[in-house]
């Protein structure tokens, strides 16, 4: 009798365990926090918190003053020797591709620095120049209000850790923002996907 009960209980526990694991990973598909952010952006897009930045021309800017429905956002720090340089290079390539497809007027590229200590409008201007940015469609910004910056980073799940050598380790991604909501998150090697998503959005607009 007891053995029989134990067996039945084991079956129930296995079923419940598999169910909980499935629920915790969205059907065994999401295993990391990064995956979770991407899943949420695609399935339940959320409004970005309000934030203002000072751009490379020392102008105070916000998403509302950009006047473009599509914004592609990334987070960098200009003294970064590795990932942020690659991201700048990718943005540069994207800029050319968007121009070829005549989409550049509806898409704003935006590089925000999370290194509020060291980055200034001047260093952002230098960063943009390095990748031959057309500043009409690609701007760099420093968020001066630290509270707003950490709220934004937290909202997007950008974790910035000091690497012990004066730099930072951070999750690098491109955030596709449409009408103030992040609707997709891309890795830096997904340029083609980004372009396809923007094209699809362009047809809606």
């Amino acid at each position: 009798m007891k053995l029989w009960l134990s067996g039945l209980l084991s079956l129930c526990i296995t079923a419940a365990g598999l169910f909980v694991l499935a629920a915790g990973t969205h059907g065994y598909s999401v295993w990391t926090e990064e995956g979770q952010r991407r899943w949420q952006a695609t399935n339940h897009p959320q409004q970005l918190p309000l934030f203002e930045w000072r751009n490379q021309h020392h102008e105070e800017r916000s998403l509302a003053t950009l006047n473009k429905p599509i914004v592609l956002l990334d987070f960098i720090y200009t003294s970064c020797p590795t990932v942020c340089q690659l991201m700048g290079y990718e943005f540069g390539r994207l800029q050319t591709l968007l121009k070829e497809k005549q989409l550049d007027h509806s898409v704003q590229l935006l590089s925000i620095s999370f290194d509020a200590e060291r980055d200034t409008p001047a260093t952002m201007a230098e960063y943009l120049k390095r990748y031959r940015a057309n500043t009409a469609h690609w701007e760099g910004g420093v968020v001066e209000d630290k509270g707003r910056l950490s709220e934004l980073l937290e909202h997007l799940g950008v974790v910035v850790l000091p690497d012990g050598q004066g730099g930072y380790v951070h999750n690098a991604a491109f955030y596709l923002v449409y009408e103030g909501r992040v609707i997709s998150i891309f890795d830096r090697d997904q340029l083609q996907l980004i372009l396809e998503s923007i094209e699809a959005l362009g047809q809606v607009i």
Partner: protein, 198 residues
């Protein structure tokens, strides 16, 4: 020390120790290696210790005969698997309430239920579990060592690699420890002395 009778006073010590452990965990969590290799085992062992004592409690015996054993081990396995998922490790670092749920799960659902179950399991089941645990160490160690991406946003890649190597090292050590009895002349029949489920 065996708790033959459940009284409220005997609950004070474990609750106090549990609270201290949970406080220390927050500190352990600053390092991935310490979090997984010191923090997790500490919480699990704490639960395991008290679970093992309860096993002799007379009024609980009939309940434990049903729950203890394989069901208890299954609960422990699924709970541990859940809290090893990088997403939930990250979530528990970011939110204190999720962290508290994790600590309680590791103490009660992993440690305690293993403690209640261990001695009433057949020695073959025990052996299967030991081997499964060993291979889990190797599998996880390998994944953490070779993954080019950070699995947890809150830890550096270097720490992840170090955790992988440590898991492999512990796996090898444990393998040696588990294999030693094979080379000892006398047969180890401990499991057979406990014929409850045989």
């Amino acid at each position: 020390m065996q708790i033959k009778r459940l009284n409220y006073l005997s609950l004070v010590t474990p609750v106090l120790i549990g609270m201290v452990l949970m406080g220390v965990m927050r500190w352990f969590e600053q390092s991935l290696v310490v979090n997984i290799l010191v923090g997790y085992p500490l919480l699990v062992y704490f639960g395991f210790y008290y679970g093992r004592e309860l096993i002799d409690h007379r009024t609980l015996r009939s309940t434990l005969d049903v729950i203890g054993g394989i069901p208890g081990v299954l609960v422990a396995t699924f709970t541990l698997a859940f809290w090893m998922i990088p997403r939930w490790v990250d979530a528990s670092l970011a939110h204190l309430n999720i962290a508290l749920i994790k600590y309680l799960c590791l103490i009660l659902l992993v440690g305690f239920s293993l403690g209640c179950s261990w001695s009433r399991m057949h020695f073959i089941t025990k052996a299967v579990l030991k081997i499964e645990f060993l291979t889990m160490l190797f599998r996880l160690g390998w994944i953490y060592m070779i993954s080019p991406d950070r699995l947890c946003n809150n830890y550096l890649l270097g720490e992840q690699v170090l955790l992988g190597k440590s898991l492999l090292a512990i796996g090898f050590l444990l393998m040696i420890v588990l294999c030693l009895p094979l080379f000892v002349a006398e047969r180890d029949d401990q499991g057979l002395e406990n014929p409850k489920l045989t």
